[in-house]
């Protein structure tokens, strides 16, 4: 759907050159929800704006739906943009127009006949659940309602791609969830590819299939959301994942003096489990099968998109050989093991 090759963007600010994107290459598949996460100033906003050429790349090329968007002239670019919807953090609705006319706006630009356009607006109002607000001005709407108008407007010309620039960052958590649910529905029902940028790992967790992590103008990690969540490869990704899943074991637990009797040892491990295995009693069968005591120090379970995902800090007490085979048992069942302390 989108292919980005060696994208580089340099801003000239006076004498200084600021590198916003440094040789970024990636691809977004048709029909997926792809998230780009990064801190503010990391370059993600520039990246998403390059996809519809609101920002002109310094180097590199972008292909959207088979069309090299970076090579189009002004006129063809305007036509191409009609098929790429975009929603914004601050909604960017026209205060001079009612909700109905705001959604009508892109259809006017595209030159759609009025009768047809009005019907289209009506059906979009239904999709976003704002039929009763058609004649209201944006200033009378709540943030969530404004973003719904923004979404309806972005969908007006039946795009194949929707770009989302921090669309939920100005909303409260509850509204964020409902907007994300709407985006997910749109992705499924209308088969629209979504490329979104955010600084909130919660958004990625909620709806994305794949994620790219951008740090300091560079693409540092890209992969399935589940993989990035279960084993983040870079410090940036780890801190993003840590922001919503507490992976840190409290200090006092790590250094706790443990009751030792003879040849037994205590090994502190972190067990991560994903998907189906999260529903099975694996830990208790390990404890039963091997002569190990398991002391649960800390744990959490959450959901990434629709898959359960969890994290458990265990203190295993027993003979070293037993612990080794116990951990091997867990490993065989697809759990990921990380040894935090061994004594």
């Amino acid at each position: 759907m989108i292919e980005i090759r060696n994208l580089t963007k340099v801003y000239h600010a006076g004498e200084q050159d600021i590198l916003a994107l440094d040789d970024v290459s990636m691809a977004v598949e048709k029909g997926e929800i792809f998230g780009i996460i990064g801190l503010s100033g990391a370059g993600k906003s520039t990246l998403v704006r390059c996809v519809n050429m609101l920002e002109k790349p310094t180097r590199g090329s972008i292909i959207v739906d088979g069309q090299e968007i970076t090579a189009l002239d002004e006129k063809d670019l305007r036509t191409a943009r009609q098929k790429i919807g975009m929603i914004f953090q601050h909604f960017n609705l026209l205060s001079s127009r009612t909700v109905f006319d705001n959604i009508m706006f892109p259809l006017e630009i595209a030159g759609v006949p009025v009768d047809q356009a009005r019907k289209r607006v009506q059906s979009l109002l239904e999709v976003v659940g704002l039929t009763d607000k058609a004649e209201v001005y944006p200033s009378q709407l709540s943030g969530g309602q404004k973003q719904r108008v923004g979404i309806a407007r972005a969908l007006a010309n039946e795009p194949s791609l929707l770009l989302s620039d921090e669309a939920t960052s100005a909303l409260d958590p509850q509204t964020t969830r409902s907007i994300l649910r709407l985006l997910k529905e749109i992705n499924r029902n209308m088969n629209i590819t979504i490329l979104l940028i955010t600084h909130d790992m919660g958004v990625i967790k909620e709806i994305c299939d794949r994620v790219a992590v951008i740090d300091n103008a560079k693409l540092v990690e890209i992969g399935d959301v589940m993989d990035v969540f279960s084993s983040p490869q870079t410090p940036t990704s780890r801190s993003f994942v840590g922001a919503i899943f507490n992976r840190e074991i409290p200090e006092e637990l790590l250094h706790r003096s443990k009751a030792n009797n003879g040849q037994d040892i205590a090994r502190l491990v972190r067990v991560s489990f994903i998907g189906a295995s999260a529903g099975e009693p694996i830990i208790s069968s390990m404890v039963r099968q091997y002569d190990i005591q398991a002391n649960i120090l800390y744990g959490n379970i959450d959901r990434v998109k629709d898959t359960p995902f969890g994290n458990l800090a265990l203190e295993l007490i027993g003979s070293p050989a037993m612990i080794d085979s116990g951990l091997a048992y867990l490993n065989d069942r697809g759990l990921e093991i990380e040894v935090l302390r061994d004594e």
Binding site: N52, L54, L77, R78, T79, A80, R81, Q82, I84, M86, F88, H90, N92, L94, S95, S96, R97, F105, P106, E108, I109, A110, Y137, P138, S139, Q140, R153, N157, L163
Partner: protein, 237 residues
């Protein structure tokens, strides 16, 4: 006959009225001339000033019609004309006014320098109104595939309309002041009345009457502008 316009007056007021009744008539004519000059030149200055203001904004670096040359040239023309004091501008324009209207004296002739002097002023006012619009709105329109003309007509002007309306009131009020200056060189209106009948003939009654009428006129225009702007903005609230 000791009543005026159906109102009975005491003797002293009646004699005052009889001595100065010409003034009421002169004031009415002069006020009408001033209103007429101001309205036409406000209209004229917007016909030219509005597009110039739009071009000044749109040709800025990074804007929809970025063009450094046009922006700089237009910007300096506006600055140069704005820096000439109106009374001098008026005199400099005499040959041009005579060429356009056939004379440089009278109400119609005054409209030419008034309009020309107000154009750069209007351009700057419009420019600052348009600059209040968040870039995000323009960006949104561009992301939908809007061309520059569509951005101007569907985003810039409608979104800035409440502010532009206030600018119209400011321009008209400024032109009331300018028209009084034009009056001194024979432009007609309240300026001519105040200068020739009031100042040169030491008639303080005439002087103060025109001042009062001007105050009312300016107040009225400001109110009209406020109401207009509020009405446009209110619809959106």
């Amino acid at each position: 006959m000791n009543e005026v316009l159906g109102i009975a007056l005491p003797a002293w007021a009646l004699s005052f009225w009889q001595a100065n009744s010409w003034l009421a008539e002169a004031l009415a004519v002069a006020t009408w001339e001033t209103i007429y000059m101001v309205l036409i030149s406000t209209l004229g200055s917007y016909i030219f000033g509005l597009p110039i203001g739009i071009i000044l904004v749109a040709t800025e670096p990074g804007h929809i019609l970025e063009n450094k040359k046009v922006n700089q040239i237009l910007g300096s023309i506006v600055n140069v004309t704005r820096s000439i004091p109106f009374i001098i501008f008026l005199i400099l324009l005499i040959p041009f006014t005579r060429w356009v209207v056939g004379t440089y004296i009278g109400t119609i002739a005054s409209i030419v320098p008034l309009t020309l002097a107000a154009i750069p002023f209007v351009a700057r006012l419009v420019e600052s109104s348009l600059k209040e619009i968040q870039w995000g709105l323009i960006e949104a329109a561009l992301s939908m595939g809007a061309n520059a003309w569509q951005v101007i007509c569907k985003v810039l002007v409608p979104e800035a309309l409440p502010s532009i309306c206030l600018g119209v009131a400011i321009t008209a009020i400024n032109l009331v002041g300018y028209s009084a200056m034009a009056g001194i060189v024979g432009g007609g209106g309240l300026g001519t009345l105040a200068y020739y009948q009031g100042y040169q003939r030491y008639n303080s009654l005439v002087m103060w009457s025109t001042v009062v009428v001007l105050i009312i006129l300016v107040q009225g225009m400001q109110m009209l502008g406020d109401i207009l702007s509020a009405r446009v903005a209110k619809k959106r609230r």
